[in-house]
């Protein structure tokens, strides 16, 4: 169990680091998809089957497509500008800041006495239970998420749509 977790962690972290340091945006996006798939595998490992497939459907199926379309629509597919001094400076500062945050978080995780030390059996949460929870105690949150998704869909269309588009039928 632990070995599988370590392998998954290496896969997730490795693909994330390589993805975010590549210069080719398409390669980064595709590697990030691997990272997201690794996170879905982690959910599967933890026994959260429904969440794992939802992650796969939303991230691997939908968000990856939006990212790739955005990369192509902004013509970043083959961008390679020279690295200037400013970007190196910012990179080193970011690394220092990120390293500091990582140090604090790792110290906090290792230093906190966590009460649960012996892992129990994988808890079983059926889709029926999740559905009952969603439609029962969390129904307001579900409705709010529905409204949020609708609004963001409309917002994205309004933002990304070109003004003064001529449809081919208007030109006849």
């Amino acid at each position: 169990m632990t070995l599988a977790l370590i392998l998954l962690s290496v896969l997730i972290l490795g693909s994330a680091i390589v993805a975010l340091s590549l210069r080719n945006l398409i390669h980064s996006a595709l590697l990030l998809v691997a990272c997201w798939a690794g996170i879905a595998a982690f959910y599967l490992w933890a026994g959260a089957e429904f969440v794992a497939f939802a992650q796969g459907l939303v991230y691997v199926g939908a968000i990856s497509m939006v990212v790739l379309f955005a990369v192509l629509l902004t013509r970043q597919g083959t961008a390679s500008e020279p690295l200037g001094f400013a970007s190196w400076q910012r990179f080193i500062l970011a690394l220092v800041a990120g390293g500091g945050v990582a140090g604090i978080l790792v110290g906090a995780v290792l230093g906190t006495p966590l009460t649960v030390t012996t892992p129990g059996p994988v808890p079983v949460l059926t889709v029926k239970q999740i559905g009952a929870q969603l439609m029962g105690p969390h129904v307001v949150a579900l409705l709010v998420v529905g409204i949020l998704l609708t609004v963001s869909l409309l917002g994205a269309v309004v933002l990304a749509a070109e003004e003064n588009v001529k449809s081919p039928e208007d030109e006849v």
């Binding site: 497939f53 691997v60 497509m65 081919p168």
Partner: protein
């Protein structure tokens, strides 16, 4: 697990249990620590072998049927060499049935051309991944009463998650070719696949609503039984199920790039769309993945609308369940081939308009219809008739109104031919 236990205990006919008994007999031969691995490997090998062969014979069936639909014979020459079966005949043509194997040899021996500017790694990965992703979806289909490779509680979600991963490979193929036509075609293909994924899922949701489960096994089981002893309780024989099945068929055709929605690789208009820069075996892999996707979607349609592995009439119950599944699968594939031979290709704007203005609204209304159906579950007698009439009205009314509204000013089409 209970079905499996029952099957092994022997309360079912022998033919029903035969595949499981065969597998267990083989697994018993091996040392205990490797048994679980071999157990799963056998499942994988069985799927690969059965559906690999099914793919091979689908291609020949498609070519022969299309040939008949177009008033020609189709491939009928490829047979086996002289020395194989009957030594005194020069050549056995076998009605051309060994054509797929000849095609495979041809694809394997063709030169594999990679464009000089291509992204070599992605260009290689795309065909490999597309086959892998399209095979993943077979894992949750119930091929028979006891034949489900993986029993998942959220199987339908898994099916769509695995299916949507193939979109990535379309993009990879188009982008890695470094050919602007490939890239444009890939974007078109993606626009089509993404627009039709929504209606595909929306047409499946009513079944989930009525069956109350995402598990393919439960959905197939829920369709058992007969009214008056002859009409099976399949979802397709209810008003919402019939409408959902039609919507599913259209969306499945578009999702698997079949005619009349085969714009991404319209042979007579484009070269081969996002596959232009692929040749030899890599092209064959894309081709294979397309057929696997079609087969998996047909299997899903059978499971959720056509009663899965259930027999259509009670007295034919002795035929094993997997045979029924395969028969229905052959029927579905045959239907898709027939559609390909009959209908004309759509234009890209017609295609997206059909999805967003017609099929998505109808699928949403059908969801309401299914909600009505499951709320009125306990209506009996004359009320049952009222239930049917209301449900049918919810299907037919919007269809007619929406169709008339969208067709206003468009139909009937006028064709102008060149005159001499």
């Amino acid at each position: 697990m209970s079905a499996y236990a029952m099957a092994v205990a022997g309360s079912e006919p022998f033919l029903e249990r035969a595949p499981l008994l065969l597998r267990d007999a083989f697994v018993q031969l091996l040392p205990a620590p490797t048994q679980w691995l071999v157990h799963h490997l056998i499942t994988i090998v069985a799927i690969l072998a059965v559906f690999g062969l099914f793919f091979a014979f689908t291609t020949i069936a498609e070519r022969k049927l299309l040939g008949r639909l177009q008033n020609r014979r189709g491939p009928n020459r490829t047979g086996v060499p002289q020395f194989s079966i009957l030594p005194w005949r020069f050549k056995h043509t076998l009605f051309g049935l060994s054509q797929p194997f000849a095609d495979a040899v041809k694809a394997l021996t063709k030169e594999d051309i990679v464009p000089a500017a291509a992204d070599k790694l992605l260009h290689f990965l795309a065909p490999v991944l597309v086959v892998a992703f399209s095979l993943l979806t077979f894992a949750v289909l119930p091929f028979g009463r006891n034949l489900i490779p993986v029993e998942l509680d959220s199987a339908l979600l898994y099916f769509f998650a695995a299916g949507s991963a193939t979109e990535l490979t379309i993009f990879m193929a188009g982008w890695a070719s470094r050919n602007k036509y490939s890239l444009l075609a890939a974007m078109r293909a993606l626009a089509q696949v993404i627009s039709y994924e929504l209606p595909l899922m929306l047409s499946v949701v009513p079944v989930v609503l009525v069956a109350g489960s995402l598990s393919t096994r439960e959905i197939a089981l829920a369709q058992g039984g007969w009214t008056f002893g002859i009409i099976p309780h399949w979802n397709v024989f209810t008003p919402w199920g019939f409408a959902g099945f039609l919507l599913f068929l259209v969306a499945a055709l578009a999702e698997s790039n079949r005619s009349p929605f085969d714009l991404p690789e319209a042979e007579s208009e484009l070269v081969a769309g996002h596959l232009t820069e692929y040749s030899g075996f890599k092209y064959a892999l894309f081709f294979m993945a397309e057929y696997f996707g079609l087969t998996a979607l047909s299997g899903l349609g059978i499971t959720i609308f056509l009663g899965g592995w259930q027999a259509p009439v009670p007295f034919l119950g002795f035929v094993p369940s997997y045979a029924w599944f395969m028969l229905k699968l052959v029927g579905m594939i045959g239907f898709f081939i027939w559609v390909r031979g009959t209908l004309l290709r759509l234009r890209i704007d017609q295609l997206t308009r059909l999805a967003w203005q017609f099929i998505v609204p109808l699928a949403l209304i059908n969801l309401l219809n299914a909600a009505f159906w499951s709320l009125t579950r306990d209506w009996t007698g004359a009320l049952q008739l009222v239930r049917w009439v209301i449900s049918a009205a919810i299907v037919v009314g919007p269809f007619v109104l929406l169709g008339r509204k969208l067709n206003a000013g468009r139909a009937p089409r006028t064709y102008r031919y060149a005159t001499s």
